[in-house]
């Protein structure tokens, strides 16, 4: 497998207080691919993901050290502004969480508005494009002024994806984005992920191995804060190198 230098981590450690949650992880992600991270709950996969857009450090008592390179630039170096960085590395969370008191339109436009873009033609364009990319435009184009929270759960999650896409991120982090959704909405989002990788690099944390197998190019297996195995999805699920991986994917774990 060719390792691209687009986005990678070197010896990344993350702590909660004195607890080491992620231990010396080295990973690279190629551009325009989908990488899945699997592992039992509490294995540090979500924490690892939150280190990639420097959100982990916002938790009181949390600490990170190590290197995360985005196109050879360490995002943890002193001259990087986490605010600007988080625009380039978008994130979608487990529970759909449109901002209450914001309309559908404003939910998508909010990132651009924050970035200082006021011109309504640009905003309208961007909102429509993002909603189309999130496969939501046809469903909401007549209710752009309704509250974002008035949509169904699956629609809300796609709204959050559109919101993240609107600011043109390079990378999209997804933290178990379908775990709160019904099967039909889940299928829609999985379909969407495969479509979206043409535009952004996607890293998705999931507790659902079938999902990882369906949508990802590479898969990583985490256990107790360690990266156990990382490789092409087809290979990891059929011929894992580590027997802990094998035990996990065959359901014999714990």
């Amino acid at each position: 497998m060719e390792i691209s230098s687009f986005f990678s981590t070197r010896d990344l450690n993350a702590w909660f207080g004195k607890t080491l949650a992620v231990r010396a992880v080295n990973m690279s992600f190629a551009e325009n691919t989908v990488s899945a991270i699997i592992g039992p709950s509490g294995c540090g996969k979500s924490t690892f993901l939150r280190c990639l857009n420097r959100l982990h450090e916002e938790v009181p008592g949390a600490r990170v050290n190590g290197t995360v390179l985005l196109e050879n630039k360490n995002i943890y170096s002193k001259d990087v502004d986490p605010v600007e960085l988080r625009r380039q590395i978008g994130m979608v969370f487990q529970k759909p969480n449109p901002f209450p008191a914001f309309s559908v339109f404003d939910n998508v436009a909010v990132g651009l508005k924050l970035a200082g873009i006021r011109k309504s033609t640009i905003l309208k364009d961007a909102v429509e494009r993002s909603l189309r990319m999130a496969a939501l435009w046809d469903e909401v184009k007549d209710k752009l002024n309704d509250a974002g929270t008035s949509l169904s759960g699956g629609q809300q999650q796609r709204l959050c994806i559109a919101r993240a896409l609107a600011v043109e991120p390079r990378v999209l982090l997804m933290d178990e984005p379908t775990s709160a959704l019904d099967p039909i909405s889940t299928a829609k989002i999985e379909e969407l992920v495969s479509e979206l990788k043409k535009a952004v690099t996607i890293i998705i944390v999931t507790h659902n191995m079938q999902q990882a197998a369906r949508i990802s190019d590479q898969t990583a297996f985490f256990l107790l804060g360690d990266l156990i195995e990382y490789g092409a999805t087809s290979q990891l699920f059929t011929a894992p190198k580590d027997n802990r991986t094998e035990r996990y994917i065959t359901g014999r774990f714990g």
Binding site: D81, V83, R87, L112, L114, A115, G116, I117, V167
Partner: protein, 293 residues
């Protein structure tokens, strides 16, 4: 793809332009919020230091055991006001405690119905009625018919003021008792009222007393409702149907007087009052913290 690159390049220039301004605003807000916190604490610090420094010089043994001196004479103390406050608060507790406990038990044990939420709402409203209105009401309902200010009237006013705080703290505390304890009691074949009184209420008694102490702390500083009811008195008074002195009213009367010596005593009395109120507040907090651990 080309079009996309152009769009992103445009976006980046926009963002570049605004990012410095956003950072500055962000820091400005940090400063403003910290200033707000400092500004809010200045009066607290100022009140405490003035009360402590000015009040301390007024304190001596005599201050606690003497009666007020007539106008013009230097000296005198707050002995009758201390006793008066104790009597008024004690009398108020006699009214506020059972009534508040009753409501609290009702709200926690039978509080799921719509009717109970309506009562809960009115309890909160009673808590927000200005204390001077309660005083005025007691004045018109008790003082005017009796044709005299009295400790009774003052106690009734303070009692009414205690009800909402006692009731709500009782409710909150009893709700902390896990449901399985109730069920265990009922499963023993005990009737519900016995479970409530013997197991739940008695089991939480320590915490409940803490709640009562907080409301005692609150009413012992109340002045306005006492003006209309207990009035004040320069002498020892042990009869409940007579006007009676109290610490807050004495602070008020001394503070608005034109005499320096009374001002000095007002600060001294304020120090005693604040010390008492804070002592109750801090010990109850400490007890609560210990209780939740």
């Amino acid at each position: 793809m080309k079009q996309k690159d152009y769009r992103i390049a445009l976006l980046n220039t926009w963002i570049e332009k605004s990012s410095q301004r956003r950072k500055v605003i962000n820091w400005g807000v940090y400063v403003a919020l910290s200033l707000a916190a400092i500004l809010a604490l200045i009066p607290l610090i100022s009140v405490f230091s003035f009360v402590t420094f000015r009040g301390f010089s007024a304190l001596d043994w005599d201050f606690f055991i003497s009666l007020p001196k007539p106008v013009g004479e230097i000296g005198g103390g707050i002995a009758n006001a201390l006793v008066g406050t104790a009597i008024l608060v004690g009398f108020g507790t006699l009214i506020g405690l059972p009534w508040g406990f009753g409501i609290g038990i009702y709200l926690s044990e039978y509080g799921a119905s719509k009717r109970a939420s309506a009562i809960r709402f009115t309890v909160d409203l009673l808590a927000s009625i200005p204390s001077i209105v309660i005083g005025l009401f007691v004045y018109a309902a008790v003082v005017v018919p009796m044709k005299r200010f009295s400790a009774y009237a003052g106690g009734i006013a303070l009692g009414i003021l205690m009800v909402p705080t006692v009731a709500r703290s009782t409710e909150e505390i009893l709700k902390l008792v896990p449901i399985h304890i109730r069920e265990a009691g009922l499963a023993l074949g005990l009737p519900r009222w016995k479970v409530i009184l013997r197991i739940i209420f008695r089991g939480s008694l320590g915490a409940l007393i803490t709640g009562v102490m907080l409301s005692v702390a609150r009413v012992s500083g109340e002045t306005a409702p006492l003006l209309f009811t207990a009035l004040s008195n320069r002498f020892w008074s042990h009869r409940l149907d007579q006007p009676i002195a109290s610490l807050p009213v004495q602070i008020y009367n001394y503070a608005i007087s034109p005499y320096d010596d009374w001002h000095r005593q007002a600060w001294g009395a304020a120090l005693v009052l604040i010390f008492f109120v804070l002592f109750l507040n801090l010990t109850t907090r400490w007890a609560m913290k210990k209780g939740t651990k």
